[in-house]
Amino acid sequence: MSNCTVTGKRAAATTDVTMMKCCFQLGDLRRALLSLLILLCLASCAARTVNVQGSYPRPNIPAIPLVLGVYYGEGLSDFVYTELSDRGEEEYLVSSGDTHEVLFNTVLPAMFERVVVLDSLEEAAARGVDAVFVPRINEFQLGMPQKTRLDSYEVWVRYNMRLTGADGSYIADWVMTAYGKATASSFNTAERGINDAAVAALRDLASNFSLGFTGVPDVRDWLQRRLSQ
């Protein structure tokens, strides 16, 4: 009997150890699953970033025989638009600074005899430019299909364009708007739709800017004075 009891205790002890191991393994699994769940939740809750990327054709227009300095400062290079969800949480971060620089670096050399990209406004006079162009984004709006109930992603941008002399004197200051849309059913992801709508808006800006630049009253007057000298 005693042997039997001992055997039974041993057996029980063995079972307890197995149970403990099993509980330990289950606990590990539970923790791992919980961590995974938290990670998935964090990933789904985090705002998605869209770095707008696109290529733009060079405009076919006669170049103005002047040297233009361009300064990509605050409000353009670092511009990031934040789209909020219905609950007020950050949903998409649309970064378009780099693609704006690509756009202006394609468009401006076709519009002017020579273009100089300035690191600061102070170096304009030393670089021998005739004028300094400073583009800036004033407002950015994004239309998402789930919010507008339309079958397209839409981007609307309002710019402030400023043209000064090399010494910083006023030449012109005007507002421009750009609009682009991309059909939602053509894209698998919202990021792709936002990107293509933004690229369409920038292309709209490029066409309107390159054809309308000499028509801005203050720019036209300055060009007449400058080119007649």
């Binding site: 405009p59 076919n60 006669p62 059909t183 709209d204 066409s207 309107n208």
Partner: protein, 228 residues
């Protein structure tokens, strides 16, 4: 005997379903109407090209690039194929003159545009003889019926009936680049009823309305620019 009876029942059911299918298939056809209005003489040589562009100025809709591509592809194949320049290639090469906000809306605007030496040079490089402006869209109306689907442990299936009508309306305006004038307009209207009966599985019987509008318009345009 039981097996024979079941076989006969199944056969009768299959026949009736096939008859229904054919009946509905006959109904799911498209009616296309083409109208042509000629304003001037046309003709094209093997060195000449045609560019087909979609109108995208309107806020309510824009001509789908896929439809423009479809018309272009259809004109560029078969007997008497025409050289068609892809839309995006032409618009990029002509940038910024053919963008939604800057494109010429009337043939008089084309005259002003052709006064630009850079524009004329690129047009000559492509050998563009005609510009065709496509404007239109396909709308779905008269949606009716409903289909219910259920899945259980023993399997699943759908039951019901749905139908809708598609209406395509497109207009092609042809401009002669050599004279910078409008030479004609062709319009294509196509309508068709689509059906979706569902007995266990949904059977889509789709009326190919836009595809028919594309092929009819392309064939007519091909004849038109060739002077036929």
């Amino acid at each position: 005997m039981i097996i024979k009876a079941q076989h006969a029942m199944l056969s009768a059911w299959f026949k009736s379903m096939t008859s229904l299918g054919f009946l509905v298939l006959l109904q799911a056809c498209t009616t296309t109407t083409i109208d042509e209005f000629r304003q001037g003489a046309t003709g094209i040589t093997s060195e000449d090209s045609v560019v087909i562009l979609g109108r995208r100025q309107g806020a309510a809709y824009e001509t789908r690039a896929q439809f423009v591509e479809c018309v272009g592809e259809r004109m560029a194949r078969g007997s008497n194929a025409i050289n068609v320049i892809p839309e995006q290639q032409f618009v990029d090469a002509m940038f910024p003159w053919f963008e939604p906000r800057t494109a010429p809306l009337r043939s008089e605007d084309l005259q002003a545009l052709m006064a630009q030496p850079m524009v004329t040079e690129i047009m000559s490089g492509f050998g563009v003889r005609y510009i065709v402006w496509l404007d239109g869209q396909t709308e779905t109306t008269s949606r009716m019926g409903s289909i219910s689907c259920a899945v259980g442990p023993g399997g699943g299936g759908c039951f019901g009936f749905g139908s809708w009508e598609d209406d395509s309306s497109f207009e092609a305006r042809v401009w002669d680049v050599s004279s910078a004038t409008a030479v004609g307009t062709i319009s294509a209207d196509a309508t068709g009823q689509s059906y979706m009966p569902a007995v266990f599985v949904p059977i889509p019987l789709i009326a190919r309305v836009e595809a028919n509008a594309c092929s009819s318009l392309a064939d007519q345009l091909k004849q038109f620019v060739q002077g036929g």
